[in-house]
């Protein structure tokens, strides 16, 4: 009998071990036990989430394509493949390499589908920078992203950075990659065709990352644990060579299937490729290139060494494929072949060390987890506005908000990323969405990531819906039609019913919102156990969304373009102060309910905005989000430092508290600017979609001025606004 502490130390539960005995009808060998432990880890097996993930729509208004490791949409003859994935725990343990290998892993998921990676985005969340370790994590993660992304030659074009106490002890690093391919050049991650050789390509195998997915990713952090050896080390140079060699190899059409050896390494590739291809695989471990001596079979099967892939090659063409990899000075070694017995057979010098049905490895048990609404929410959702004093000096409040780490400009980070390589980036980082042209077409794609996790904490269902709605709104502001979603679902320990309730509600929120926009969730990832000894993270279902801009010349940015333009608000301001950045930063209150969201209103303003943009009537478009109207207006004024343009906003006329008007975070609002002779045309378009429309002021001058009922609430020179908004992160980090 295998000792309890052995399988438990591998992360397996008693009942899972019993199930393995039932499947094998004998006790597992050490290698087999290792293989089950990684494939049945939460990270690889989705044991606790799978039931709920089925709710997410797989089809939408654009034709979708769902592969084993990524998904995408088809536009004309192009496939746009994308996916977002978490690398939270490795980054918390070793920020630079954790983030770097997160980037490397997500890029491999894209080019193994046959698509050339054209863009990266990162959604990053940390505890407050006032704590030294958080600062170390933040700078380390940015360093890891630039280290890997810049070298590998894929531009990092966007993303988001948030700070919240709940991430102290468990930061989040979610990396998203987008790739494009001619649709007939795509390949799947499967092995079939009896006798087809299985080729190992890329870096050699070492002991790094053993247990990364099972021990590190599928458990919460405990005090003082040493988990650094489970973090992988990245080599972006090898990855760059792998990208070129792999795409060249796929272009020969002799690649039957290919898969990245990411989490769970060789175990994952062999079992999942065989399972997806309804075949088997016979592997000889002695043929695996290695960089360390005396590696045991179980170590080889569990290693998460980076920049390695497994390819199923058409029989007889192996030399041709091998030549391509050798040209790029990469390993290429035939380590086995496809069988038709449905078994993954692993040999060491001929001797069988593991033999398991591929399906039994990939069909991890599904758990129906109990869930319960947390009791604390009832208290937290209450907010008595009358007890919150209204500030006297709104200028001071605005300047303070612009400095808030979650609002302030993130150029300190994105200027360290090469965001221009490949020469497709036509809207640079810092706007609502990044825009990338598709060379050889008149189209472009827009991409964004979004999630307000404070909303999701206070109201998971609506918070997740808002994440979808806001991502779509960001894309619309750039002139794009929202097209499809990838989601990266970051939550606490799913074995705690209150935590699981957050997960379930967020998934339902995403599913319902995506259905209402008629867009599919084509790929994604679940990361549970994001807990430090103190607490769980805020539920963070990061939404990565891409959209299609039909005419590249109509792409739109958030900054005002010229003086004397009309400023239009599509949507309403409500007295929505609950869960706002304003309450948090100015009053230190993290309470209330999240802003209302009416998906029909949301559709109306989005449809009106996109139509106006596509007609060429709009000069700038910006979504109102954290910090509300005042922050959004500031950003439109100052986000192009070479062409800052002021604004005079004097026609708001809402009957509500001034702080709610300026800083409330009502959803479904877009600020447009247009030349005066376009105003009536836009008004008509708004009417057509029943989108609330109001001209609230005009651009011009060197000051942002906001009047309400003749009272001047805000009067600030652009230089002061720019200084606070652009300089605070730099000051914080560089001193």
């Amino acid at each position: 009998m295998v000792k309890q502490e052995v399988y438990r130390s591998l992360g397996l539960k008693d009942e899972e071990y019993q199930k393995i005995l039932e499947i094998l009808k004998r006790k597992p060998s050490p290698t087999e036990l290792a293989m089950f432990s990684v494939e049945w880890s939460e990270h690889c097996g989705y044991l606790r989430s799978r039931k709920w993930l089925r709710l997410l729509p797989k089809t939408g208004k654009y034709k979708t394509l769902i592969g084993e490791d990524s998904g995408g949409i088809i536009i004309d003859d192009l496939a746009i493949i994308f996916k977002m994935e978490s690398h939270n725990h490795p980054s918390q343990v070793e920020p630079k390499q954790g983030a770097a290998t997160g980037v490397g892993g997500i890029i491999r998921d894209i080019f193994t589908a046959g698509a050339r990676p054209i863009a990266l985005l990162d959604s990053l969340r940390f505890g407050p920078l006032s704590q030294a370790y958080n600062k170390y994590l933040f700078t380390g993660v940015i360093d890891g992203i630039q280290f890997y992304g810049n070298c590998v030659g894929v531009p990092t074009v966007g993303g988001e950075i948030y700070f919240d106490e709940s991430y102290t002890g468990n930061c989040l690093v979610n990396a998203m990659c987008i790739g494009i391919a001619k649709k007939d050049k795509l390949v799947r991650a499967r092995a079939n065709g009896l006798g087809n050789p299985i080729m190992y390509v890329g870096s050699s195998t070492g002991r790094d990352g053993i247990g990364g997915c099972s021990i590190l990713a599928s458990h919460e952090f405990k005090e003082g644990e040493e988990k650094r050896p489970t973090v992988q080390i990245g080599d972006p140079f090898t990855e760059k060579c792998l990208i070129e060699a792999t795409l060249e190899a796929i272009n020969t059409r002799y690649v039957v299937g290919i898969k990245d050896m990411g989490a769970a390494g060789l175990t994952c590739c062999t079992s999942e490729m065989a399972s997806a291809g309804n075949s088997g695989m016979d592997i000889e471990l002695q043929a695996v290139p290695r960089r360390e001596e005396n590696m045991q079979p179980w170590e080889l099967m569990m290693s998460e060494s980076q920049e390695r892939m497994l390819i199923c090659v058409k029989k007889g063409k192996e030399e041709q494929i091998k030549k391509i990899f050798l040209k790029w000075d990469l390993n290429a070694s035939i380590i086995g072949e496809v069988t038709n017995d449905g078994l993954v057979t692993i040999r060491d010098d001929g001797k069988i060390v593991a033999q398991i049905k591929a399906h039994s490895l990939t069909q991890a048990p599904i758990y129906d987890m109990p869930y319960r609404k947390p009791r604390y929410l009832r208290e937290l959702n209450k907010l008595e506005l009358s007890k919150i004093p209204e500030p006297k000096d709104y200028n001071k409040v605005l300047l303070k908000l612009l400095k808030a780490p979650s609002i302030t400009n993130k150029a300190w980070g994105y200027e360290q990323y090469d965001h221009m390589v490949q020469t497709n980036t036509i809207v640079l980082p810092g706007s609502d969405a990044a825009v990338l042209r598709l060379k050889g077409t008149s189209r472009a794609i827009a991409a964004t990531t979004d999630c307000n996790s404070r909303y999701c904490f206070l109201n998971p269902y609506r918070g997740a819906q808002i994440a979808v709605a806001e991502a779509a709104r960001n894309l619309v502001c750039s002139g794009a039609h929202p097209a499809a979603v990838t989601d990266c679902l970051n939550f606490g320990n799913p074995e705690k019913p209150e935590s699981f309730w957050q997960f379930k509600n967020c998934v339902e929120g995403i599913a319902d919102a995506c259905r209402s926009f008629n867009i599919a969730v084509v790929s994604g990832n679940v990361s549970f156990y994001n807990e430090s000894p103190k607490s769980a993270i805020n539920p963070t279902p990061t939404i990565g969304m891409i959209g299609i801009i039909n005419d590249i010349n109509k792409a739109c940015a958030q900054n005002f373009q010229q003086e004397d333009d009309a400023i239009i608000l599509l949507g309403y301001c409500r007295q929505d102060l609950g869960a706002s950045e304003y309450l948090k930063e100015i009053h230190n209150i993290m309470k209330g309910n999240v802003p209302q969201l009416d998906l029909r209103l949301e559709q109306a303003i989005q449809k009106a905005a996109i139509k106006a943009i596509e007609r060429g009537l709009v000069n700038s478009a910006h979504d109102c989000s954290e910090g509300g109207l005042a922050v959004a207006l500031t950003e439109s004024c100052v986000s192009n430092k070479y062409n800052m343009i002021g604004a005079n906003v004097n026609n708001l006329n809402y009957d509500m508290r001034a702080d709610a008007l300026l800083f409330g975070e009502s959803q479904s609002r877009i600020i447009l600017s247009c030349s005066k002779d376009s105003v009536e045309k836009i008004r008509k378009i708004a009417l057509e979609f029943k989108a609330p429309f109001r001209v609230i002021g005009k651009t011009g001058g060197r000051v942002l001025r906001i009047l309400e009922a003749k009272e001047e609430l805000i009067y600030l020179p652009l230089e002061d606004l720019f200084e606070e908004w652009s300089g605070s992160l730099n000051k914080e980090l560089e001193g």
Binding site: Q146, N150, C151, V152, G153, D235, P236, F237, T238, K240, C241, W328, D329, Y414, E415, Q416, Y417, D418, H419, M420, V421, Q422, T423, T425, I426, L428, R437, K439, I552, N553, Y642
Partner: protein, 232 residues
């Protein structure tokens, strides 16, 4: 007129350079694999940006030993036009085709952003279409762009009019505030004494189309085409 774009393992601006020459300028262009040894029939060689050999050891230090480099040194010594951009500039320094060395940016960070550079010498194959002191808006993207040479070296560069570009403000002021990486004397690009080899840190291939935000980089490629056209 034929361009060649050298591909080292780890080059990542090779395809961007190829695109500008082939698709924007409609000029014949071919990739040259770094393990090749012959350069047949080229008029201009582009050493593109990227991270050749992962920038391991030192930027450009390994690429300089790629088999193709001997032929490029030959080509340059016979007067062939060579332009090294970013990592290509670093390789030119390492191979001795240009004087000086590259240090890490004084910010100790990778920097990717648009900068302005001032054209200091318009009588070169690379700048003959620029107006005197013309200011170009071209992005940089590097970690090691802090150009350095010793005092005598700098004097020589000045004396021989080898400084092609200085980093400057939008109105052409050359000062510390507009020096993004700490480069000696704001140097953004230099030529060799003979004037047929240019190394520059900013990326003209990233600013050769209006939709990317600047077309100023085109002036450099078009200057090369004009120069070679006049010569033949």
């Amino acid at each position: 007129m034929r361009f060649g774009v050298v591909v080292f393992p780890g080059s990542n601006c090779d395809q961007d350079c190829f695109y500008v020459v082939n698709d924007v300028l409609k000029q014949p262009v071919r990739y040259i694999w770094h393990k090749d040894t012959k350069l047949d029939n080229f008029d201009c060689i582009i050493l593109p940006g990227g991270f050749s050999y992962g920038d391991y050891l030192r930027t450009g230090a390994i690429a300089r030993f790629s088999p193709i480099m001997n032929s490029i040194i030959d080509f340059a010594q016979k007067g062939g036009i060579v332009i090294g951009i970013c990592n290509g500039f670093q390789i030119l320094l390492e191979s001795g085709l240009l004087p000086g060395a590259m240090l890490r940016n004084t910010t100790l960070h990778f920097i990717c952003k648009y900068v302005y550079i001032k054209t200091e010498n318009t009588k070169t194959p690379f700048t003959n279409l620029c107006k005197k002191n013309q200011i170009l808006k071209i992005p940089i993207a590097h970690n090691e762009g802090n150009y350095y040479t010793d005092e005598a070296g700098l004097k020589n560069l000045d004396k021989n009019r080898q400084i092609a570009f200085h980093y400057c403000s939008a109105d052409g002021e050359v000062n510390k505030e507009h020096n993004p990486n700490g480069a000696l004397a704001n140097i953004a690009g230099i030529i060799n004494k003979q004037g047929n080899v240019l190394g520059m840190m900013p990326h003209p291939e990233r600013s050769s189309e209006k939709e990317l935000g600047s077309e100023d980089g085109l002036l450099i490629f078009k200057s090369i085409i004009k120069w070679i056209g006049n010569k033949s």
